[in-house]
């Protein structure tokens, strides 16, 4: 019995110091789910660790929550993709610096056989036709950047998202795509995440509009300027451009 206790104590000790050690040379970044679901977070963490021996911990959440994590200073950097929320975040003094660093495109994905027949239509007509033909549309419904963009478009086009044709999945980008596939429905997604899931789904991009740019920004949380300087430099420089070129499809650098 006694040696069990000792063993347990040893284990606790090891764990504690291990966590402690990683906390020192690591950085927590709150990112949007598309950042993680597209696989970008994992490859970026590895790429960065290989070069700078510093661990980047990505905490995945919708844009609203990532900003909240920054507000509470739980993380030292936030990656978001909604300009309005980001500007409010800075206005409220939670961040001192905003660096737009990459973009991709929003697309509308649907079943392979396109039951609503909307392939190639402008987004507004496509949405209306989904409703008219009695097909379903899956919305994220989680106040993430993708969902906010979608709501903005619905509002701009004067389309009412009612229960008869819009289902709110309340989950991340990845699972929303899976639900759309299982229900033969259409959904709004970012191209990179869609590409990552493409093989698992019998779905294709039905509407792709170059004006639907999805811009990601890096926000430095107030008070963390010093320890994040290196990472910010990485994100805004040529190294990040190289990383994207090598490791990521469908993400394009801004700087």
């Amino acid at each position: 019995m006694k040696y069990k206790k000792i063993l347990f104590l040893q284990l606790a000790f090891c764990l504690f110091f291990n966590v402690h050690a990683t906390a020192r040379d690591s950085l927590k970044i709150a990112v949007t789910t598309s950042f993680v679901d597209s696989g970008l977070a994992d490859s970026l963490a590895k790429y960065y660790y290989d070069r700078y021996k510093k661990r980047l911990f990505f905490i995945s959440a919708g844009t609203s929550k990532t900003l909240k994590l920054g507000e509470k200073k739980e993380v030292s950097l936030v990656i978001a993709h909604n300009q309005q929320l980001e500007e409010d975040f800075i206005k409220n003094g939670y961040s001192s610096k905003r660096v737009p660093f990459m973009y991709n495109f929003f697309v509308m994905a649907g079943p392979d056989d396109d039951p609503a027949g909307i392939s190639g239509l402008p987004l507004k007509d496509a949405l209306l036709k989904i409703k008219q033909t009695g097909n379903k549309y899956i919305s994220r419904g989680d106040r993430s950047g993708t969902h906010l963009k979608e709501m903005e478009l619905f509002k701009r086009y004067n389309i009412i998202a009612d229960k008869s044709w819009v289902l709110e999945s309340g989950t991340g980008m990845g699972q929303t795509l899976l639900i759309a596939y299982q229900k033969r429905a259409y959904t709004f997604a970012d191209e990179a995440t869609f590409d990552k899931f493409k093989d698992k789904l019998k779905m294709r991009i039905v509407v792709r509009d170059e004006s639907l740019k999805n811009i990601y920004s890096l926000l430095v949380v107030s008070g963390f300027e010093k320890e994040t300087a290196q990472v910010v430099e990485f994100f805004s420089g040529s190294q990040f451009r190289e990383f994207l070129k090598k490791e990521a499809r469908f993400f394009y650098p801004i700087n």
């Binding site: 959440a61 909240k68 419904g141 229960k163 999945s169 309340g170 989950t171």
Partner: protein, 228 residues
């Protein structure tokens, strides 16, 4: 922050927000259906186990015992694989519907019912059984007698099973998909509200879940005390 959350959650509770009531209703409905199903099926199976011997019975019983400890996420994965379009039962197209959630919760609750019921039958004294048979009673009478004798235990089992499925989140999220007004239940919406940073709403829903759990426990204790 917690106090703020509690205050606004109380407000939310009494604002009779239809969104919240929809979630409570769905939660209770889905879990009640799956618990009742597992009670019926579980009882039938355990009667069968009690009265009949068959090869591999020991293996079956240990599988039941294992089933009581299987993490719900594994049940969730199992259901997803089974009902995936192109999977074995994919043609039913019930993934991401309340039916899939009921099946998942049924699989979680059923081993519990079988385990409890079977052991309570086993604890029924063997000489009683012989006496009852000697008096000319059949299996049917024996079953009804056991049920009457052990009714407290059945209620306990029922409540325990209900409590475990209504507070389960992993499988519900995986097979239900958290679709608003359809498969969004208390636990999955707590996950969602937290992930959106709406802590007050998450607290409100948690309080409701706690109240449900408390009521269940209260009824349980009440029944047990009364019998004693």
């Amino acid at each position: 922050m917690i106090l703020e959350g509690i205050i606004s959650s109380v407000k939310l509770l009494f604002s009779f927000d239809s969104y919240v009531y929809e979630i409570i209703f769905l939660s209770l409905l889905i879990s009640a259906v799956s618990t009742l199903l597992s009670l019926v099926v579980g009882l039938v199976i355990s009667f069968f186990l009690y009265f009949y011997n068959f090869p591999l019975k020991k293996i079956f019983l240990s599988l039941v015992n294992l089933g009581m400890g299987v993490p719900p996420v594994i049940v969730g994965l199992f259901i997803v694989l089974l009902f995936w379009r192109g999977g074995v039962f994919g043609d039913f197209e019930i993934l991401y519907t309340p039916y899939a959630m009921i099946i998942a919760q049924f699989l979680i609750a059923c081993p519990m019912v079988i385990g409890f019921a079977y052991s309570s039958f086993k604890s029924f004294p063997e000489d009683y059984k012989i006496q009852i048979y000697a008096l000319g009673a059949g299996k049917k009478d024996l079953i009804s007698l056991i049920i009457r004798e052990k009714r407290v235990l059945f209620v306990t089992t029922l409540m325990a099973a209900f409590g475990s499925v209504i507070s389960e989140v992993g499988a519900s999220l995986m097979v239900g998909g958290n679709i608003k007004g359809y498969t969004r239940v208390l636990t999955t919406s707590i996950v969602l509200e937290t992930s959106m940073g709406y802590f007050d709403r998450a607290i409100a829903l948690s309080i409701i879940l706690l109240i449900i759990a408390f009521v269940i426990n209260y009824i349980l204790t009440h029944i047990q005390e009364k019998v004693r």
